[in-house]
Symmetry: C2
Subunit: 285 residues, 2 copies
């Protein structure tokens, strides 16, 4: 397996780790970082995430065999469109966005060429950390990557994108964008929103009584860890996946209200049963 010259637009935690993983495993000729901030790109080069960099995607586009757009989801179609005219015939383009339906449908129509191929990806290897300084070559080991398939997908490009993520250690699943978005709304976006809401809730309580901070232990810290994620990324994700997320906020609130009812009415057996089932599901993971 060899992927030639790979361009990574956005050399942060994911983009930087991808560059490191590809280079460390000898899977590429060159990794070129693309971005707006020269200082950060220099840091990425110093950290061996990329071989070289440019501030101008169109300058390097003709050299790229694989072009990975690792920006917040809202910007992905724009950057694809910007680079498209200069891409090498046969180039495969993918992304790392946490939502897929809107991004994939836009990217599939925004470029008027039938010799460059967009296939959506969602490597589930992010964390609350950001920036290339947190990147490492084994970020993707054993993590899951979803690769999207639609009626417009080019099957050869899809295979290449699957191989690409598999080659850096990921377990790859091919999935329809709408199914993907519904799944991650449940297992990633709702948990993130809850963590943010709980953090805001605790901030309000601390404003009432400063001493409350003293009672914050590891349970609270774990439950809210992902609230440290970048609001810049997450606002896009929430708005992009709004229908699924709103449906699931509603479903979650119903469960919470059912537990509240058990607590209010002293339904000890029902409460114990629910807590047991929650524990058993958690332990099954």
């Amino acid at each position: 397996m060899h992927f030639g010259t790979v361009g990574i637009l956005g050399v942060g935690l994911l983009g930087g780790s991808l560059g490191m993983a590809l280079r460390a495993r000898g899977l590429v000729d060159r990794v070129i970082g693309i971005g707006r901030n020269e200082e950060r790109l220099q840091l990425a080069r110093d950290l061996a995430a990329i071989d070289d960099y440019t501030l101008d995607v169109n300058e390097v586009a003709p050299q790229l065999d694989v072009f990975v757009i690792a920006t917040p989801v809202g910007l992905i179609p724009t950057f694809f469109q910007k680079a498209a005219a200069d891409l090498k015939p046969g180039a495969v383009v993918t992304d790392v966005g946490s939502t897929k339906q809107k991004v994939v449908s836009e990217c599939e129509v925004c470029v008027q060429r039938d010799d460059v191929f967009f296939v959506g990806s969602h490597p589930m290897a992010g964390s609350e950390k950001t920036g290339v300084k947190s990147a490492h070559a084994d970020l993707f080991d054993d993590a899951v990557c979803f690769v999207t398939r639609t009626d417009r997908s080019n099957r050869k490009a899809e295979d290449k994108v699957c191989e690409f993520w598999g080659s850096v250690g990921m377990k790859v699943h091919v999935i329809a964008p709408d199914i993907h978005d519904k799944m991650v709304a449940a297992t990633s976006h709702l948990p993130h929103l809850l963590a943010s809401a709980l953090s805001l809730f605790a901030r309000d309580r601390c404003a009432e009584n400063e001493m409350i901070k003293e009672s914050i232990g590891n349970g609270f810290r774990d439950t809210t860890r992902i609230a440290s994620g970048s609001e810049d990324l997450w606002k896009d994700i929430f708005l992009d996946n709004n229908d699924n997320l709103l449906e699931y906020i509603e479903a979650f609130c119903q469960i919470l209200q059912r537990l509240a009812k058990d607590i209010k009415e002293d339904n000890i057996d029902a409460l114990e049963q629910e807590l047991r089932e929650g524990r058993e599901f958690r332990e099954s993971l």
Copy 2:
């Protein structure tokens, strides 16, 4: 500092770790484990958590300088009452319960002796793990312990209980039971209930589509880690602290609905602002 003979009723994670910490630091003559299950008590002795054990609290009560009741909160007053007639004059009795108002008010009146002293404690060093096999002597290092003060508190006994937890490495705060319960409702009980509700929510989604389990990553795992806690302990805690918890479920839902409204109405600036404030509070911890 020396605490003579210490009895620990309930030699699980907390009770076992306490025995280990007291013995490892040479703070006691003997630690006697008290319980119902001889096999578990033998394990506790093998693991150096206790010097000896008994199944009969009344048999050892006359020897105890400090008696620690480390059972689920619902059982604490019962065990105090059971042991009380046989306790040595001057004995100090405490507990490790996660709620304090009900336990402390019951323990302050359930025993008709003015020469044994109950002071409530809440060492915040639990985890989702249970059992003496998970115990370790440094569990309490730098963790917070709340010790309760009421109009009925004996100040000398309170000082001794503060020294007791301080001697195993805890940061001790003296607090009124009702303030304590309000604080931990916000920072411990609500987060636990949310983790359980999220786990139940994900179980329901997995029942709709098994593939969803594949999309569960570290974010979900962290957010739900405490849902692995024992339903036996937590149902008691929730019911015991029901008024505070119900008030805070309501306050949390209001925040969640505000975020849902921002998502529904595409209020990108408001949403970003909320997520930023949530992140900043989390990072301030």
